[in-house]
């Protein structure tokens, strides 16, 4: 299992569009993925759960990957989150 913390940069946090991006990305990876935000476990494969978590800009979240390609998957997710999940 690998994990790393990262800060959300999207100006309105993880709202509909970034949540859609993140969930699509997560669904395409083979690792078991969890996100921890504010002590809560969030399933990143669900847009509804991601939006319900109310992750605002500047929130530090922890991304956890487990599986054969965990290193690679974690890197992909961290890069996407750091890059604003498709938002400028």
């Amino acid at each position: 299992m690998v994990k790393e913390k990262i800060t959300v940069v999207n100006k309105s946090g993880i709202h509909m569009r970034p949540a859609t991006e993140l969930s699509k990305l997560a669904a395409g990876l083979s690792s078991d993925i969890k996100i921890i935000s504010g002590g809560m476990e969030v399933n990143p494969k669900s847009i509804l759960i991601l939006m319900s978590a109310g992750i605002t800009k500047g929130t530090e979240i922890e991304v956890i990957c487990e599986g054969e390609t965990e290193e690679q998957d974690l890197k992909i997710l961290l890069e996407a989150i750091a890059g604003g999940l498709g938002e400028e």
Binding site: S12, N43, G54, G58
Partner: protein
């Protein structure tokens, strides 16, 4: 004739025409339980409905990207999981399981603080309704049969509803629910269709095909009006359409006068939500961010953290554009529920604004620290209200320096070179404007208080309301003297009172040399269009002439 009045409006314009009432079928909420043998079939029925819903939505996604997002919600794994569990464990049918599960998410979204997220509850409901319609096997279009341009009246409209409409036949929207960021509001704004939300009680009083007049700017709705009223509003509507055409032509063009002098246009805002709305207009920034909202909308003094988040959000929304935050301006007519000040005989001449802040460092310092910290995220400026002396600004800046020192020691990022300006709204400040300009980085003239103090007339008092007039020569000369003093010391002078959005006044102020005009976002395009048609040299001559007049009557005559 029946009339309604909506308090908060987010739209402008007029619409006249027959009403078209859109009533949607009540959603059934009571369903029979299924039997254990049917579990697999019921889950399959749900999956098929989702598949069909996504197919419909992807077809619609060419119309608006919102539908692609809806497709993603319909096929969300958490929704699927919730429905499956409820069918299996509680023997609910697919409809009931869907209603329950989507209801849980609606509840979460509706209880969120962010207005944007609250509106997402409407998206969830829309998706749920679409799937329910598919599950029920019924499918009819409530918009069928609209033949002439009508005013659509409904409890609430979803993106799925508006996708079914022929928008060419929509003269206006009247919704009983919804707000500025609801789907219909945004769509109507983009299309330039007048729209009123929050029009409670309209459905009860209006029948299909009743003749309706709506004035979206004033928030008024008339059903079955008199002939005279129809004529009056037809004329208003005609003028508005011409005006709109003129504004569309100036939108996107630079803020320059006919002879190429640049002017700055900013918006006033009271909270991050309003900043978000204002950022959609072409603005140079927020010229007045009233920080009171944080204090008045709370049940305790907002903490440094709470304030920091609000200011930071506003700063980030504006990117590099200026955000001028006015420090706490309470007292006068603005009170806090949780901090009772003793009753004063003359509250407007009493303990208010900067006077309170300088005496109460426990209130002032958290705010200054929050603003300084938010400054690390954008182009933030501080503005002190109600300044009457050089000592006050020095004292305030001294406290600001203490806050900077503390943040430095704590290793917290902040804006080191933050600009500090003052409001010019007292006669005292006008008389010593030059000395104040040496201490301040910018001026912002607050005409509402300035007029009241200069003329010694309370504008809320009907008996003296006619004395209160910002066109009084004393007020105009005070404004001119303030701008001159600012320019002499090399700083900019702006205005954030209502006067700046008065088209005639704006031309006069431009002629006096005002650098920045700050007003409600909705007024900006009107003022911009007017100033773009103005020649600065001519405006200056007119201003000089007006400043030489000694009576209100002469001033008004020169303006026409």
């Amino acid at each position: 004739m029946k009339t309604w009045k909506v308090k908060k409006t987010y739209s402008r314009g007029y619409a006249l025409g027959p009403a078209r009432i859109i009533e949607k079928k009540e959603i059934r909420t009571v369903y029979d339980k299924i039997t254990g043998d049917n579990i697999t079939a019921e889950i399959k029925r749900f999956d098929e409905a989702v598949e069909e819903g996504c197919r419909e939505l992807m077809e619609l996604s060419g119309k608006s990207e919102i539908f692609a997002a809806h497709a993603a919600l319909a096929s969300d794994i958490a929704l699927r999981e919730g429905v499956e569990n409820k069918i299996k464990d509680k023997l609910m049918c697919a409809e009931e399981a869907l209603l329950e599960t989507s209801g849980e998410f609606v509840f979460i979204f509706e209880s969120m603080e962010d207005e944007y997220m609250r509106e997402r509850a409407a998206d969830m409901k829309d998706v749920c309704e679409r799937l329910l319609t598919i599950l029920s096997g019924e499918n009819e279009n409530p918009f069928e049969g609209i033949e002439e341009k009508s005013i659509i009246i409904a409890r609430e409209l979803t993106p799925s509803d508006t996708a079914k409409m022929n928008l060419k036949l929509v003269a206006g929207f009247v919704m009983e629910l919804g707000g500025a960021t609801s789907h219909v509001s945004i769509m109507a704004k983009n299309l330039g269709i007048p729209c009123l939300t929050g029009a409670e009680g309209v459905l009860k009083g209006v029948k299909d095909k009743d003749f309706i007049i709506m004035d979206a700017g004033a928030g008024e709705i008339f059903a079955e009006p008199s002939k005279d009223l129809i004529e009056e509003y037809e004329e208003k509507a005609g003028k508005w359409r011409e005006e709109e055409k003129r504004l569309r032509e100036s939108a996107g063009l630079p803020s320059l006068t006919k002879d190429g002098i640049r002017f700055e246009l900013c918006a006033n805002a009271g909270n991050p939500e309003e900043v978000r709305g204002a950022a959609e207009y072409e603005i140079d920034g927020i010229g007045l961010f009233r920080s009171e909202f944080l204090y008045m909308g709370s049940d305790h003094f907002p903490t440094e953290e709470e304030q920091f988040f609000a200011y930071k959000e506003a700063a980030c929304l504006l990117k590099d554009k200026e955000l001028t935050i006015r420090t706490l301006d309470i007292g006068g007519d603005k009170e806090l529920k949780y901090w009772q000040l003793p009753k004063e005989e003359n509250p407007f001449l009493g303990y208010r604004a900067i006077r309170i802040c300088l005496k109460e460092p426990d209130i002032f310092k958290p705010q200054l620290r929050a603003i300084l910290r938010a400054g690390a995220f954008g182009n933030v400026r501080i503005m002190y209200p109600m300044i009457t002396s050089v000592e006050e600004i020095r004292e305030a800046n001294k406290i600001l320096e203490q806050c900077k020192k503390e943040l430095e020691e704590e290793g917290i990022p902040y804006k080191k070179d933050i600009q500090t300006g003052i409001m010019i709204e007292t006669p005292a400040a006008v008389m010593i404007a030059e000395e104040l300009a040496k201490e301040a980085d910018f001026f912002s003239i607050g005409t509402n208080d300035l007029t009241q103090y200069f003329l010694a007339a309370d504008r809320g008092n009907e008996k003296v309301a006619e004395i209160y007039n910002s066109y009084h020569p004393s007020v105009l000369r005070a404004i001119a003297a303030t701008i001159r003093a600012a320019h002499k010391q090399g700083i900019k002078a702006g205005m954030c009172g209502e006067f700046a959005s008065d088209e005639k006044a704006a031309v006069l102020l431009l002629g006096m040399g005002l650098d920045e005009f700050s007003m409600s976002a909705g007024e900006i395009s009107r003022v911009k269009s007017r100033l773009r048609e103005t020649d600065y040299k001519e405006a200056k001559e007119t201003a000089d002439n007006i400043l030489s007049k000694g009576s209100v009557t002469e001033v008004i005559n020169c303006l026409i």
